[in-house]
């Protein structure tokens, strides 16, 4: 767990002002305590990502929410796809085979 001050110390190239702005904008959502926000490793990694988008990739400030929203969607999709795959894996072999052939038939039809 990291306080605001600790995040600013760990990630040298970000200011407290910037960090607060990002939390206010909802880009990073730390837990709250009586002593202020508390960041876990996921939050710190996300701060680092925003900082790289801004500094290294020169993504303009108003484009950051767009990039984050797309990334969150990708991760949401990845999780659902992974879960769906696990559900299919858990089926008996004939069911799995049926799903595979149905899937490939759909792909073939699209390629025409």
């Amino acid at each position: 767990m990291f306080s605001e001050a600790e995040v600013v110390t760990v990630i040298e190239t970000i200011s407290l002002h910037e960090l607060r702005g990002w939390v206010h904008a909802g880009w990073v959502a730390p837990a709250q305590s009586e002593e202020g926000p508390v960041f876990d490793e996921l939050d710190v990694a996300r701060v680092r990502l925003v900082q790289q988008l801004r500094r290294d990739l020169a993504v303009p400030e108003d484009a950051v929410p767009l990039v984050l929203s797309l990334l969150d969607q990708v991760h949401g999709l990845r999780r659902e796809l992974r879960t769906l795959t696990q559900a299919v894996d858990a089926q008996p072999a004939p069911v799995r085979t049926d799903i595979c052939s149905a899937y490939q038939a759909l792909l073939r039809n699209r390629n025409i």
Binding site: L42, A45, R46, V67, L71, Q73, V74
Partner: protein
């Protein structure tokens, strides 16, 4: 050094490139290769690392000059291995930031999605879906969790909610605030805000189920002769009787002074006694004990 390690080659710039050209080349590559922009592609990570290292070397005028003179090699200084965001986002707790906006409309076209996520579309073509839940974590002081309290939670949009922390809340308790999550899609209702309580440790109280446990230091004479002493409890200070002849490890149980139980009633407060010697064993005490032990020897280690 293999040719591909050459920072100029990696960035695709000439040896005479200006700082600006180098920065532009790096940004172009970084946008293609940043691991968080390619969450499923493991191979980009090494490429990105090499390109970043090349850039950090060449973007520093002094380092670049030393490299050009052959004083340092392309690796420069090894930077610690970075854990990218995708590493955390793919783990279970990464769910907090996940968005279902990439597939929510599938519920309107696929029966299996509607079954899986439990909110079918109403009416052809129009999709109504419940908004996403948002997860917050709130740090709660130990005694506030025992006694119950009200605490403010600030939302990222600047608004604030007053939350009732129920008496006896445990670490990890989840509170659900209906309708305080993300807005719904179409005419779908908004999602909920889920607040996970993180109970902070206390300097001298600990919790064991519904019991509060406190270690109470007592003096040698209080232990031997018995005494009435003050004990902190969750609701204030109490006077309790230390029986004559108490010893370290003895437990005084204060009935009903513990944590509120889910089904009504309270646990107990357990006071664990700890006999503490005076800072200094003075002449009086030493003389008395010298005399006393000649006639009153006892062996507490008989069973060992």
């Amino acid at each position: 050094m293999p040719k591909s390690d050459d920072p100029y080659t990696l960035l695709g710039v000439s040896r005479t490139a200006s700082a600006d050209e180098i920065r532009k080349a790096y940004r172009k590559l970084a946008k293609e290769l940043h691991p968080d922009l390619n969450p499923g592609d493991k191979s980009v990570e090494d490429q990105f690392k090499n390109v970043s290292q090349a850039y950090h070397l060449l973007s520093d005028a002094e380092q670049r000059a030393r490299f050009d003179r052959g004083e340092i090699d392309a690796s420069g200084q090894e930077t610690p291995q970075q854990q990218y965001y995708r590493h955390y986002a793919d783990s279970d707790r990464g769910r907090r930031y996940d968005s279902s906006a990439g597939f929510r409309d599938f519920e309107g076209t696929s029966d299996i999605f509607a079954d899986l996520f439990g909110h079918g579309a109403e009416g052809a073509g129009r999709v109504h879906a419940r908004g996403q839940d948002v997860l917050y974590r709130l740090a709660v002081p130990f005694l506030d969790a025992v006694n119950g309290t009200k605490q403010h939670l600030n939302l990222p949009d600047g608004s604030s909610i007053e939350l009732t922390i129920p008496k006896g809340s445990r670490d990890g308790t989840m509170l659900r605030l209906r309708g305080k999550g993300r807005p719904g899609l179409g005419e779908g209702p908004p999602g909920d805000a889920l607040v996970e309580l993180s109970i902070q440790p206390h300097p001298y109280f600990t919790r064991d189920g519904d019991d509060l446990v406190l270690e109470l230091p007592i003096t040698l004479d209080e232990a031997a002769l018995g005494a009435k002493v003050e004990v902190p409890s969750a609701t204030g200070r109490l006077r309790v009787t230390v029986p004559k002849g108490s010893t370290t490890g003895d437990v005084l149980r204060l009935r009903g002074k513990g944590v509120a139980k889910a089904g009504g009633g309270h646990g107990d407060q357990r006071v664990v006694l700890k006999v503490v010697m005076p800072d200094e064993v003075d002449k009086d005490l030493a003389e008395f004990l010298e005399k006393w032990r000649k006639t009153h020897a006892y062996n507490p280690r008989a069973a060992l």
